[in-house]
Symmetry: C2
Subunit: 261 residues, 2 copies
DNA sequence: GGAATAGTGTCTGTAAGACATTATTAG
DNA sequence: CTAATAATGTCTTACAGACACTATTCC
């Protein structure tokens, strides 16, 4: 089939059924030391009553994908994207039958943001909430066990799983952990982000020295916290994010076993 | 707008014009120590006479994206994807106006393969060829200077640029450099792949020791080449790809300046 | 023989991890 | 005071890069 024939066929729904393009956003934040993902409860079929990533249809030709993703994120959280949030394209999903209604290609995005207020339910969702990721009981392959309290719609368990893995990797070689924190933060708070996303404890002393040794990761403000920690300890110095886009040398996860075969 | 309204609107071309989904493949190989990309010369408008990445429309709902990309690659090269070729999703492009005919979202894929025969021109292309990447004169931002001998159609200069940058990064922490080589290869041949993709000379002795020290990168065959190098030197030992999926520790590029600000 | 190349040995600076230590704060 | 914690110091091991060196092959 030639290019032009295929082009014309695109207008013939009997040969190529209507295709929809959506964006879905894996928006992550941290509350009480636990990673949370923004989910909406579906108010109508298909998958009524199940939870889904916030997303929507893209007006292809009228807006670009990044803009559509930023719009979806702002609608649910009020977060403006040229701000402290990080938003990047994650991957695109187009398996047959992933939406029972029609063929849908979904461009997934990944967002990191600081702790923020609970979202408002939109008109098409019966509820919206920041949901603790561990409560979803995701397996490494992106499947969800039958006993989970909140079931995810479509292939969103897989998308979320991919987003979490991308997030774990991003913290290794970019300073994006700071996107989870307010503008000013302490090194122990930054360490808590790493421990929460990676799911393992880090050595406080070595982490501290390492962060300060990477050029451009953080810059000091000369200030300290107003008081010490909850259970004692001195006041911590306050930092803000530096100007580095990449961490050199990187902060590698200790858990990664040699040679993932 | 509710979910259902948007869903129905997807069937109304006056509100949401027909959308096409395509896959485009950045297929890379190495010839004579120079990276080459597979391109097809467009035989009809738009961009007639310009060169484009091989690609085509996806039958969303009837095939998944990976399968569609593998099909496009096989059509041009005869390479079967569950084989020695590496194929992975790169990114998705959907800027308004990127195709002058209609709104098109393109899912780009990245492929690495060993040196192979010249492709045959398809019915919709006046020519197809492995084109040396340096001859395209790409800039870092993915633009093409006006004087280039072969101009790229659509936003394919940008896609190719993104693919090359991904390829450079992939060589650092995966053993995918071996995908550019035949099943059996020497360490100096492997080094040539790195030097070609990264565009800088590597220290032969250190590279040799490093490759052998990474578990699972390569495994020896016990054989050597039949003769020495073109300009002298001993016979090199032959290796095949090992079972590692990730390199630990990674082979970092020397050129990367600290803290890309 | 001369030049180029495969592969190994050696040394040095840097960085990561384990552990110890000091100072400061809450309760 | 006691416990917890921020921040720094010390030591050991691993690794990257620079350089030297040997052995082998082509011309």
């Amino acid at each position: 089939m030639t290019d032009e024939e295929e082009f014309l066929a695109g207008y013939d729904p009997s040969r190529y059924p209507a295709v929809a393009v959506t964006v879905d956003v894996v928006a992550l934040t941290i509350r009480d030391g636990v990673p949370h993902v923004l989910l909406v409860e579906r108010g109508r079929p298909p998958f009524q009553g199940l939870w889904a990533l916030p997303g929507g249809f893209v007006k292809v030709g009228a807006e670009d994908l990044d803009t559509a993703a930023a719009r979806e994120l702002a609608e649910e959280t009020g977060l403006e994207t040229p701000g402290r949030v990080h938003l990047e394209q994650l991957a695109t999903y187009g398996d047959p039958g992933r939406d029972p209604r029609m063929p849908v290609v979904s461009v997934a995005y990944l967002a990191f943001g600081p702790t923020m207020a609970d979202p408002q339910a939109g008109s098409d969702a019966s509820d919206a909430a920041w949901v603790p990721v561990p409560s979803l009981g995701l397996t490494a392959s992106g499947a969800q066990p039958p006993g989970a309290t909140r079931r995810l719609a479509f292939d969103h368990a897989r998308i979320l799983s991919d987003g979490l893995e991308r997030a774990r990797g991003k913290l290794e070689y970019t300073p994006l952990a700071t996107a989870f924190l307010p503008e000013v933060f302490t090194i122990p708070e930054l360490r808590a982000v790493y421990e929460c996303v990676w799911g393992e404890a880090l050595h406080a002393g070595n982490f501290h020295r390492k962060v300060l040794s990477v050029p451009g990761f953080v810059e000091g403000t000369g200030q300290t916290t107003a008081s010490g920690g909850r259970r004692g300890g001195p006041r911590a110095r306050l930092y803000r994010s530096g100007d580095a886009r990449l961490l050199h040398p990187a902060l590698l996860r200790p858990g990664t076993e040699d040679g993932v075969r």
